[in-house]
């Protein structure tokens, strides 16, 4: 497996650096060399791309969200670059779970230590349960249940947004696997803690907040929506304040029972530290790869380390949720 510039596992950020500041974090029992995670849907489409992200310094990697059956997704254009972030209407393209399992096995046998989180999307307990077992069987270190894709069809959205369904899906997954169960939530305006509460009650180990907002862009000369899917997920900088608020709310409500992962617009170490202070135990990074490239993981991680040192902390854990204690 080829990795960027020949960088291998041995040059990953050291788990405990010279000065004694530890970047290592524990996430529902998984050990991450640092709190950066490759977000779902970004470079998670093959073993080799997952490996490349891990070799580039991601503390954990997430697969593209998989469905039981193959999905073509939407035709192009599927992205719009905005001044404040990115719109995408990929539409969950994926080959279906089964054809993807070899990629998971290949990643797991690569020797890379960053845990692999397998992301799945299902609309009933049976599917969720089948998929979760299969993905664990193939070697996923955790299952992430995506209940928040902004590009699902209208019917799917109505279904997936329901507390009842979230409860059922999480219960089904929880029963089917022994690895930790992550639940990836939408950036709801109101009512996020209710939806999350259903997931927590049903046995989720980690809440991931958040998936993209729903937005759109229109070209004034073409006089039509740019995305073929018309609306799409808004990720990147624009999402950050909203997802940060979500993390803060979730940590406040469930911080005693469960861990939270922050995602949305992380571009540099400051963003990451804001999420940690809000209550996240780790941060996922997606859109920033456009602007920062794969080195973003290493740069964010070493920036967090610098911050810990400057502010007199000795571990990431110490600052998790500190904005609630301040």
């Amino acid at each position: 497996m080829r990795t960027e510039g020949g960088v291998g596992a041995e040059t990953r950020p050291s788990e405990r650096s010279a000065g004694g500041w530890a970047l290592e974090v524990e996430l529902a029992g998984l050990r991450l060399a640092n709190p950066t995670v490759l977000a779902s849907g970004v470079l998670g489409t093959s073993a080799s791309l997952l490996a490349r992200a891990a070799s580039s310094g991601a503390g954990a990697v997430t697969t593209k969200t998989l469905t039981l059956h193959p999905r073509r997704g939407n035709p192009n254009p599927v992205v719009v670059e905005l001044d404040t972030g990115l719109l995408n209407s990929m539409g969950l393209p994926n080959p279906g779970l089964e054809p993807f399992l070899p990629e998971i096995r290949a990643y797991r046998s690569s020797g890379l230590r960053s845990p692999l989180i397998g992301s799945i999307w299902a609309l009933n307990s049976e599917e969720a349960s089948t998929m979760a077992s299969m993905i664990q069987e193939a070697g996923a270190n955790a299952v992430e249940l995506n209940v928040s894709c902004p590009n699902a069809s209208k019917d799917e959205l109505d279904t997936i947004g329901s507390e009842q369904l979230v409860r059922e899906l999480v219960e089904a997954v929880r029963r089917s696997v022994s690895v930790p169960v992550f639940v990836k939530l939408p950036p709801l305006h109101w009512g996020l803690t209710k939806l999350a509460g259903a997931a927590v009650d049903a046995g989720a180990d980690v809440l991931v907040a958040t998936n993209a907002l729903r937005g759109m862009a229109i070209d004034v000369r073409a006089r039509r929506p740019i995305l073929s899917g018309i609306t799409g997920g808004l990720s990147g900088r624009a999402l950050k304040p909203v997802a940060l608020r979500a993390v803060y709310e979730l940590y406040g409500e469930f911080g005693d029972e469960i861990q939270v992962v922050g995602v949305g617009g992380v571009q540099d170490w400051r963003d990451a530290v804001e999420y940690l202070l809000a209550g996240a135990s780790a941060v996922e990074i997606g859109t920033a790869l456009i602007y920062r490239g794969l080195s973003v993981f290493r740069r964010v991680a070493s920036g967090i380390e610098g911050y810990l040192r400057e502010e007199g902390f000795h571990s990431v854990e110490e600052i998790v949720g500190a904005a609630r204690r301040g």
Binding site: N76, P77, L289
Partner: protein, 255 residues
């Protein structure tokens, strides 16, 4: 957001290939080998190499192969608009020296942009182009190449123009410091084999189905290499071909 481009000129180069000369509001600023995503509202968005850039004008050479290219050929005439975003990707290297450009079919397009750039270099530069086509009817951009490179050799599979044979068979590989190639993948593979054997540096421009063009979605991965055509390429060192399994993957739905 896309840039709106006015179509200044459309020229039929062959039965399947048209040249689109676009005018932008500002200079695009592309590097040889880079591409743009071209959006025709209502039809779709596809990657196309920049074949030439002059001031605010760019040339796109578009072959009709399917839905979007078909719609462009049919609907987009002079005075119409096209939408582009980019330029994207890593292109060809351009240091002084002896350059051989090997092109096949409408794959010659990005090599014209490269030839322009090499011609404009300061140092001592010599540029030869070896252009291969199926038949005389498929030949394109010959005049343009002749204007900017030192020597052009043409070959056709059926011998209707220039030498008869595959361009990879007729090409002269001992002369150049570096070979730049663009064209059908079998051609590139054959060329890679020859160059790697001789220890000649070869840069190839690859194509894969593209979605985001931004290095995020993974659609354009060169199978099992972790390399993305849109971001790590489209131009790669040919050794990538050797190190990769490089088999068209069965999971076509990703692409």
């Amino acid at each position: 957001m896309h840039l709106t481009a006015e179509v200044r000129e459309v020229e039929k180069l062959t039965a399947r290939v048209k040249l689109y000369v676009l005018e932008l509001k500002e200079r695009l600023g592309s590097w040889p080998g880079q591409f743009v995503m071209v959006w025709l509202p209502g039809s779709g968005e596809i990657p196309i190499s920049v074949a030439r850039e002059r001031g605010r004008e760019i040339w796109l050479v578009i072959a009709r192969v399917g839905r979007v290219t078909g719609a462009i050929h049919e609907e987009v005439g002079e005075g119409a608009r096209l939408w582009i975003r980019g330029p994207y990707g890593r292109g060809f290297s351009t240091s002084p020296g002896r350059h051989l450009l090997v092109g096949g079919g409408f794959g010659v397009a990005p090599l014209l942009r490269l030839a322009d750039e090499l011609r404009a270099l300061d140092g001592p530069v010599e540029v030869w182009a070896a252009l291969g086509f199926k038949s005389a009817d498929d030949a394109l951009l010959l005049e343009e190449f002749k204007e900017v490179v030192d020597r052009v050799t043409v070959s056709t599979d059926d011998g209707t123009l220039g030498e008869k044979g595959l361009v990879t068979d007729v090409v002269e590989l001992d002369w150049p410091n570096v070979v730049h190639a663009s064209g059908p993948e079998p051609m590139l593979r054959a060329l890679a084999f020859s160059c790697l054997q001789r220890g000649v540096r070869l840069e190839i421009s690859l194509e894969r189905r593209m979605r985001c063009g931004l290095g995020l979605c993974g659609s354009c991965e060169v199978e099992s290499t972790g390399m993305r055509v849109c971001r790590d390429g489209p131009v790669f060192d040919a050794r990538l071909l050797a190190s990769a399994e490089f088999a068209r993957r069965s999971l076509e739905v990703w692409a």
